[in-house]
Symmetry: D4
Subunit: 207 residues, 8 copies
């Protein structure tokens, strides 16, 4: 067994179908928690300058446009609007965009977990990528559906992760140059961390 880490130079991020209409169908987290976690992954992509591909399914129909938190948060992302393919890797532009990142390790999030995330993850795995499913920046219609999807992906060798873990593996060391931005990330998206920081500097008289 080896433990091959995520780094800012070996990873890319894929946001699959984070669209307003689909987001309203997510029930596996509270809506506020889910949005918070999506924003956190967006911020990680920015802090670590990870190549990012955002894709949508029928974005000009009822699924709705890209969630503003994703679109506005990732101005440099490659966006691929899929006209009909459900599995993002079935769209040649998307597959090419991913390949073009030159990265071996793919951090994938999607709505929904069992379709957009799982299908892309299984295809990526089959293509030879190392695949990490970012589960809390993903969501679906029921806990049973989410559990089944996670089990299916784990069965296929996909690595289950969540954004704090993804970020921490990328950060590697608090003394690195992203340390400050990473601290802000934690404070912004994990309230207890923000509270701790505020309290700490107040206690030091440095507020």
């Amino acid at each position: 067994m080896s433990y091959d880490r995520l780094t800012a130079s070996n990873a890319a991020v894929l946001f699959v179908d984070h669209q307003t209409g689909l987001a309203n169908g997510v029930t596996t987290q509270t809506p506020v928690d889910f949005l918070n976690n999506v924003k956190a992954l967006v911020t990680i992509a920015q802090i670590y300058k990870l190549p990012t591909v955002v894709t949508t399914s029928a974005h000009d129909g009822p699924n709705g446009p890209i969630m503003p938190a994703v679109e506005q948060g990732l101005p440099d992302a490659t966006i691929v609007h899929r006209p009909g393919e459900i599995n993002a890797f079935d769209n040649a532009d998307f597959a090419a965009a991913v390949k073009k990142t030159g990265r071996k390790k793919l951090l994938i999030a999607g709505i929904s977990t069992e379709v957009c995330l799982a299908f892309a993850s299984l295809s990526a795995k089959a293509e030879g990528y190392d695949v990490y499913a970012v589960l809390d920046a993903s969501g679906t219609w029921s806990k049973l559906v989410e559990d089944a999807a996670i089990a299916r992906m784990v069965q296929a060798g996909v690595v289950p992760m969540t954004w704090v873990g993804v970020g921490a593996e990328l950060l590697h060391d608090w003394r690195s140059e992203t340390g400050l931005a990473h601290g802000k990330l934690m404070g912004d998206y994990l309230p207890f961390a923000g509270n701790n920081t505020t309290a700490f500097f107040a206690a030091k008289g440095q507020k």
Copy 2:
């Protein structure tokens, strides 16, 4: 690792013991959610014209007749009433009916998850089929029983799925000829999707 997809020409559906008396024992979903999910899988079988086998256990006793949603929803299904065999594959007629579908991939749902679904899945797997357990069109007596059953099936290589994933893998592309029917399926059995569609066309002034 390869990712061999479900298609309308490689898959069959098996409904194992969706009988009224057994349905009343399901507690792993709300009764309305469970019925909704069973109907959705029935509709998928119709849309994709999947060969379907429906089987019962002692249907003229306390287990009760086939749930109307299954029986009326699948007028062309092969029905095999098992006089006593618990594992559906122990019944020669059922095994033959499945074989006759000519399909390698079996989508199986059952009441209960740990008996009717798991036993059939393990036997099908042993027979060389690719087996997909459709977990939300299945149900059982407690969460612990369901979790144990899923773990047993996954341990044996059965693929855990749920109906939206099954449908999406079969649909493959929204532009395919089943796209319209598939859209109705989603709207009918995922209320947020129906709401989104209604709202979208109203906003477009096309209601």
Copy 3:
């Protein structure tokens, strides 16, 4: 203490803001359960020919149009589109429509429970109506919000109810002329009841 019953001649039903966009915000029930319960109340209004007023808030904006289950299910309802008033009784047309029903007892459902249902209930109570909050045909953003809203309404003397209770009080006796339709209502929206009926007639050999 007296127990003054609901009857088909003393009650009216008010649907407050059952709009597609708001329905997607309900998390206090599963989406399928919520839709099921709304449909059941719609059906009760039909069976008992209760005068019904449907009202919306900004229905041509993001809140979306009336949920099809309500609009199509109640073709004879009076519809009042409120241009801005949040409390439905602040809209003179709505208040007049309610008054015009000539009924003393109001069955009110709304999205959300703490705004659309509670505000209308408190105003109706203040106007002298007997108010019954139909809680399962209503919903809101979190359990805490729902609990607070119920406590506020109960504190003000609003009677907390749910659709099966409403229907049963209206039915009064299974031998009444609505008995058959009422039986279908129960079978359609309470799956165990439908299962029981199917099983019973099968056992009797009358299927």
Copy 4:
């Protein structure tokens, strides 16, 4: 405020619609817990020789016959099969049977909580009885329905109780003649109590 206690000579028990078909619809407790709690109330009625009235709604139809635990457990109960009345007190035979008990305090349990229990409780309260709703020997279709029903009954002055409390108020003192039978009741229907008793006597070397 006064505290007027339940005694073996001032209380009667009413079982409203504990029928097999309705029991299968109860989801507010696990099925095993619910049956256990019904049996416990049956046993209390026996130990304290409380006059008991058992009533059914359409018992020869899909609602099914009286649950065996109730029928066999209460051989001396008055049974009133209601041909159609939903509120048990609307049936003259039932109302007379209750009156004939000569008791002022009514312990009522029913399936479902919001119909069979609540309607009978409200009518009994209106008739001048002291009403105690035995909530764990009752059940219904969802937690929201149960909560609404309890709130409605409490609002009307019905006293919310559960079987252990009912039994304890009747027992009054462990040294009374029913003490031994009551100890067995507790051991049989509260597993920890049975375990404690077994362990105690084993430790004393009296097993």
Copy 5:
């Protein structure tokens, strides 16, 4: 029964002990939901220009400083640091600051629900104020503690509310001058509302 509404000219807001250290003890909501709800109430205070009093308990000790979301969000609030009094109304400066608002209706939120919120609410009620407990901008250590606190406050005549209801009662009509800001409030703190708005304008082609 009368229904006397909250308005921008009859209400004041009190934030009691929203301090970083105490916020870390809240378990009755997810941390992200709780912070979201506190921010929403802060924003309501701003939109409706409600006089606001913020108070702390031992803010230079382990309880920590005021949560930044409250302090930075309410630059014009009166702040009263209590040196030791637990019930905020026991501090003369706080009681005077509340009185000075000239408002009869008090919207109170606090950490924790059963101490900071409940004590202040009971005292305010005893002083003759109309008291509204904003429960989702408040929190505490366990669900049981929260339920007990709500029951105690309701028993004393405090009105249980949550921020969406508070805001809606203040808004009164979407066509009022605060309508636009209120729409943004809803979109920012209720994700489904933000999604609906984004989707609506996209569908209209006005994005």
Copy 6:
């Protein structure tokens, strides 16, 4: 409405049947949380030197001896072993011991909530005491039983509380002489408070 506070000179504490065998039947909290909350109330009784009466039911039988946390934590309490009376106030020695405390306000905790706590609370209320049910230092067999018991007590005018609230009302002001001991109480039984204190002094360099 008046708000008459708990003080160290007007309150007494009653522990009703905190026995090892009964404690093992409590399921309404985790066992560790329950023990923690009982210990906290014991500590409050000590800090505020509240007269305390501890009573048991058949302590030399399967119910078991007094929980060590109560017995050892309250060496000066009056202990009344009841030979059979279930309602503690039916035992003359207990009633006399309570009366002898000379206190008007009774803080009562018990196992179980619906019997030992509720019966004593209702009797105390009927006797003219002000009664406060300390719900988290009490427990019972299921959430439904606890909810019913709380509803029954609230209906009768008993005040629902929990230990942090009880302690805070007694403390009144952190600058009082019990402030230091009270701070330790909070740190010992609310882990976040202990963590905050440790972190605060570390940040100040005063560890």
Copy 7:
């Protein structure tokens, strides 16, 4: 992959530490559900005449004697009281008793899941037995502990099962000679099944 079934002639049952004191520590099911499930496995052992070994850990100390449901339900079981060994297979008498059954497949249940069940299961697996963990006739102190234990056992190749599945695999066919006894088993320990049977025969007029 092969599917080697449980039969009455290849399986033995091991009850590990089903003692009264340990049973009171189980929180992963309701106490009544847990006892019900233990009794069901006991009944299966009897119906299928499976060789059974019951073992205890320090049964004459605080762990308490064998649960009566196990001891009285299995009069012919081999009982091995272990004086100190925690892993039952470390006790030579137990290991010998298991070996003496001559069975290759072991159905193991234990309190607690992560110690008594998991340790015995891992040792049995290492010894070459086919091991089936009967999870609902086992229990432990928290859901997290149970989940971890199941994951550990599954990781080691132990098959996760529950009693209905075990029974159904042994029954194999309802027409076998154990069919009648098996039907009673289902009716006794799965209330919906009992209700269905009662209702069915009533509908047939065969009650």
Copy 8:
């Protein structure tokens, strides 16, 4: 498959980032349960004289100092304060301290489960250690995060455990010299066990 046991001479314990600030972020257990479980693992390390390494991340910042329960409970532990490395094994001093224990089997606990525990576990596994994740002495921000972390570790071959199992495997036999201390451990951190022991000796008259 072999089952290689934990013993007092082959195991070491690693506490990774049990710091006050991080502890306040744990929501996967109640705060009191979490602290209880951490203390239990600390006590196990002491009873079995296991070499122990305690490490922190930025302990002089907002993460806070070591939890007193860990620091004071393990006076002989090697403490490694990491200046920035997130994965403890990236710190040479920590890696050396672990190596110096000379143990092959590592019991690791951490806050948070998916970062501090999972990263250290994966690295240790890659280094060739046998790794046991002590999940209940670890915690994180949400159940989904914990589930994902457990799945990731199990996928990599880490053994999931909890403290009672760890202790029991180390104890091996109640007659060993640590038996007495182990009994106290159980009584102190599993309340039912303490209750059982107290009750047992009281029943024996040996209290």
